[in-house]
Each structure stands twice: as C-alpha cells, then as structure tokens.
Amino acid sequence: MILSWEDNVMIQVQNLKKIFVTKHVETSVLKGISLSIPEGQFVAIMGKSGAGKSTLMYQMGLLDHPTAGTIEIDGIHTDTLSQNARTKLRLNSLGYIFQDYALVPELTALENVMVPLLMQGLSKEDARRDALAALVKIGLGHRHGNLPSQLSGGEQQRVSIARAVAHKPKIVFADEPTANLDNAASKVVIEIFRDLHAQGQTIVMVTHEPEYTTYCDRIIHLDDGLVVSDEIRKH
C-alpha cells in the first residue's frame, strides 16, 4: 500500500546530478535523481558500494553542492542560498549522524550535544539542560561528563544521535550509523531511530544492511547513480 504524505513534503529533489572531477577524470556519481520525502518519514537509502547513496545524502543534507538539479528543504530552495544561509539552515533544520560518530574529541558528551544548542542562541544553562535531556533520552545521562575517548563505539554513536536531535531538527540524516558497531550496539541505535520516528521525526538513513531497515517506511535503492527501486512499507 502506498502511503500518502504529499501535503507535507520535507525534501524535494529534482534531477539531481553530481559529477566529481579529478584532474582529467570525470566521475558521474548521481545521474539525475528526483524524489520527495514527506515529513515524518523514515527513509533508508540502500545500494552497493559506489552506488551514490552517501553522495545523495550529502547533497540533501547541504554538506555539498550538486553539479545540477535542485533541492528544497521544507519548502526552501537551497540552490540559491549563500554559504551562511546554508549553515543556518543546517543548524536549525538538519541533524547529522556520521558513520564514525564524529564527536569533537576535546568536548565531553554533554558539551558535544550542547554545541548546536549554543549556536542557536540558547544560554549555557538552557543548552546544558536540553543537552542533558537528550542524553538521558538515549540512556547516556550518567556518561555526560565523559570524553569521547572514554566511551565505547555504541555510546559514542548514541551521543552523536543526541547531538543530532537535541536542537529538534526537521530532518535527521544518518550515514551508515551502524557500520562501525557490533550487533547489540547497532540494535540499540536502530531502536533509538524507531523511537524518534515514532515521535514524528523525519529520518534519512544510508545503510547497506537490510536487517536494520525493519522500521523504515520507505527503502530507496540506488545503483550507479540512479534510483532503481523505491519501496514504501506499511507497518
């Protein structure tokens, strides 16, 4: 059954192309992708290595500029935005979870989560309160004073999730969030995603592990820079 989220489109991608140019070699990674992701949808982007899934996520997450095509985030045309405006949009509307956790090593778990909140203009006390709440929510309230080096991989990834969602973004992008984790830690992370999704969070997750797409509403398969299947699921 195809679900209808047509009224609340969060991401709209039109004919997206990305070509990497290295010296004299041009590599076309995305070859004209069009898709729309409604608000509250949990989307998995799958495909084999080199299919273009991470590249697609980086374009949609405004971490990179596409070679051609347009991206709208919550109705905002991003292709004409200045660098500062893109940064502000990322700060206020997007959250990121990276494969290698990407926590700042000199900051504690709590401080890592506080950074986007401080950038949003919250006072230190408010940022601390919200960050702590986010950590408690993912079961790491007791580790808030630990540096990343004092946390396990699974714990670091959970801190990374807390950082991605503490400022209540409209979309969370996760790039292979379980790739570096063992089974148990991966399941914990996926459960957190399920909870976030249950609260209405829009999530775009890149993965190549089908077992972790159980809770996804939709699975988009890429191959050679093109969408080869777009499967909507009903739970």
Partner: protein, 417 residues
C-alpha cells in the same frame, strides 16, 4: 550583532576546552616559546640600551648630578659663583651640590727612587680638582669608588686622591694612548705642578670609576688647591646639583638659567650626556629593534605553524562543526582565543621574569662594559608596547591558518579529502 555575540560565545566555548584538554606538554612548550619570544623582544634591546643607560646613570650619580653648571665657552670659570652657591644653599628644591675648581697640571711620581737622571721623569698630565670634600662626597658618593687606600678627610691637608686612569696598572686597558704613572700606591708621595708652582702631596687613595671625569682627575681639598694654583678666584669650574625629586631637572635648570644663565652653561644631566653616547644609544636601540623585529617574525611564524598544524590535524572536526551548523567565525574565534592565550601567557610570564628576576639581577650584577656598568632597561611603556605588538602579530598569525582551514569545503574536511 546577536549572531556575532553567539559566534564569540561558541568560539570561546570551543577554544577554552581545546586549550585545557589538549596535551599539557604541548601547551607548556608553546607557552615557553612565546615567553622566550617576548623576552627576546624586551631583553635584547633592553640590554643594548642598558649598556648606555648604565653609563648615563653613573654619569648622573657620580659626576653631573641632576643639573650641572659649567663655564661658558671662552670663559675661565662660572661667573658669580659665590652668589650662585648662596642661591643654591637657600633653594628648598636643592638637596645637595658641589662646586669643583679645576686646573690643568702635572704629576710626577717615583722621583725619590729615580736613578737615571738622563731619562725623562715619570710624569703625567692631570686635571687637578679642588673640592669641598664633604659636599663632593655627599653629592657623588666618590668615597665609594676608592679602590685602594681611603678618601680625603674633610680636614686633611697635603693629601690627594688620584684617579685610577692616571696609573698604569689601572689604565693598561687603554693601551698606550695615555701617559700614566708607574707603581703609585697609597702612602707614596707625588709632586704636583700647576702652572709654575710645585708642591709635594701624599697619595692617600686611588679612586676608580667608569665615569671618565672621575677616574682622570686628582682630588685635593680647596685650601691645598688654592695654595697650589695660587688662585684667589672664587669662581668655580663646575657645579653639580642634585634636587629633592619634587621638581624635574628641567624646572631646576630653568630656575637657574633665568638668573645665572648669562654667566654659565647650565644643563640637565640628560643634556650633558656626550653626543657620542646618545648616538651609540640610538644605534643600539635600532639594533635592538631589528633583533626584536626578527623575534616578532619568528613568533608569528611559530604561531602560524602551531595553529596551522593544530587546525590541519583537526580539519575533520572543523568540517563536522561546520556541518552541524557552527559558523566559520565561531571556529576561527576558537583558534584566535588560543593564539591570544599563548601570546598573553608568554607576555605575562615574560613580564614576571623581566621585572621579578632579570632587572633586579642586572641591577645587582651589571654587565662589566668598558665605559659603563650595563643594566637591563625595561620601561613599563616599552614593555607594554612590545606585549601589545606580540598580541597583535600572534592574533593575525593564529587567524590566518584557522581561516584557511575553515574556508575549505565542509564535506572535503569531514571526509579528509
């Protein structure tokens, strides 16, 4: 404005934590380098200037006082000296003074043991100074510079103290440029001739100072001087004056010039410094600034490299911070804060070392320079200027590499491309 303040706050938040959670040894090493750089800036030029300044201070203390009055060119002495001395005696601002009466003459030594009367006598040309012994010692502390024997007693007669530069054993450093006497020691007698009058004196002491005017003179009391020089002239050759510190040298000078300027040359201690010393001071200052300038360049390159390496090794995290919405300005602020910390800590530690250790150490153990006792000159204004200069240069040197890294593509930074 609001976003600027937020950027500053986040920059401070990130920078502070990077500082106190980075390697303590790296932090200490960078602080050490910045301290050395600051010391290089202040101390090298301070010592070079101090070589001359030490001479100037000694000149003021032992010879000129705060204001010195000498005869006008072409005149034999200071006009209206008695009236001038009476005025000085009654001026509350004048703490002490000494009038000196000078005449050229010669000293003959070893005449009692002379065997070959065909050879030239052991004679040297000398400047004979008649002084009020108590006043001169109070003004210049000349007795402190007696290296052999003792200084003249206030009521001594028939006694002299000879400047060390008149004696060969002290003046060998000058080579053969000056005539000097052999083997004159306290207790020996010498013949002193002024114009055509000769008198025998007993040497009671040798005075040695790096101030040439002190070490090249032979001192005796006023009565002996008048007898020897057959002089009834009460006008002195020079008068050195020390004020009470409440007024400046310039003010005292102007007070005296208005009344006695026509018959005497009145100069502050600074004005009386020989031009060649001022020229050396200027040259040394320039040299110090050049060396300091090189130090500044080294400091800025050091800071550039430190921040650049710091930023390049953290490029991935800079990319991530940008990715999660931290502005480039906030990230640059974090690195500027670190530069500021290193420059400030270098300046503060350097200042403590300079004023707590080096300046007192140089004052207690001056550099033994041929014409002065070199001290370390570190004025508050000069030190502050150099600290501000170091801060500015370091901030720029810290900002540039941070900006270079921050401006790189966010995704390339995150992925390490």
């Amino acid at each position: 404005m609001k976003s600027f303040l937020i950027d500053c706050r986040v920059g401070f938040f990130l920078g502070l934590r990077q500082l106190y959670r980075s390697s303590i040894w790296t932090t200490v090493l960078i602080m050490f380098i910045m301290t050395l750089t600051f010391l290089n800036l202040v101390v090298i030029s301070g010592i070079l200037v101090g070589l001359i300044e030490g001479g100037n201070i000694a000149n003021r203390k032992q010879y000129t006082g705060d204001v010195i009055i000498t005869k006008r060119a072409g005149e034999p002495s200071i006009e209206r000296t008695p009236e001038l001395l009476a005025t000085l005696e009654n001026m509350p601002a004048v703490e002490r003074y000494s009038a000196r009466y000078l005449k050229g003459g010669s000293i003959e030594a070893n005449y009692k043991t002379r065997k070959d009367f065909n050879a030239l006598p052991d004679t040297v040309g000398a400047q004979i100074a008649g002084i009020n012994i108590a006043k001169e010692d109070a003004l210049s502390g000349i007795s402190d510079y007696v290296v052999e024997g003792r200084f003249l007693d206030p009521d001594s007669t028939g006694e002299v103290v000879i400047g060390a530069n008149m004696l060969r054993r002290f003046s060998s450093a000058f080579g053969d440029g000056f005539d000097s006497l052999d083997g004159v020691y306290p207790g020996d007698t010498v013949k002193i001739t002024v114009e055509d009058r000769t008198k025998e004196f007993r040497v009671v002491g040798i005075v040695k100072s790096k101030v040439g005017e002190v070490s090249f003179r032979t001192y005796m009391n006023m009565n002996d001087y008048r007898t020897l020089a057959n002089s009834t002239d009460l006008n002195a050759s020079e008068i050195a004056i020390v004020h009470n510190g409440i007024i400046s040298d310039e003010v005292l000078k102007n007070m005296l010039v208005s009344e006695f300027g026509a018959g005497a040359k009145i100069q502050t201690a600074t004005e009386a410094i020989p031009q060649f010393l001022n020229d050396i001071r200027t040259a040394f200052s320039l040299l110090g600034n050049v060396i300091g300038g090189i130090g500044i360049i080294v400091a800025s390159v050091t800071m550039f490299i430190v921040i650049f390496i710091n930023a390049i090794t953290r490029r991935k995290y800079i990319g991530i911070l940008k990715g999660i919405g931290v502005s480039g300005r906030a990230i640059q602020g974090a690195y500027i804060l670190q530069s500021l910390f290193f420059a400030l800590s270098g300046a503060i530690i350097g200042t403590i070392i300079i004023y707590g250790l080096l300046v007192p150490a140089f004052a207690a153990n001056p550099l033994d320079f041929p014409f002065s006792d070199g001290i370390l000159v570190a004025t508050a204004s000069g030190t502050t200027t150099r600290a501000v200069l170091l801060l500015c240069i370091t901030l720029i040197a810290g900002y540039i590499p941070a900006r270079m890294i921050v401006r790189k593509n966010t995704l390339d930074s995150i992925l390490g491309r």
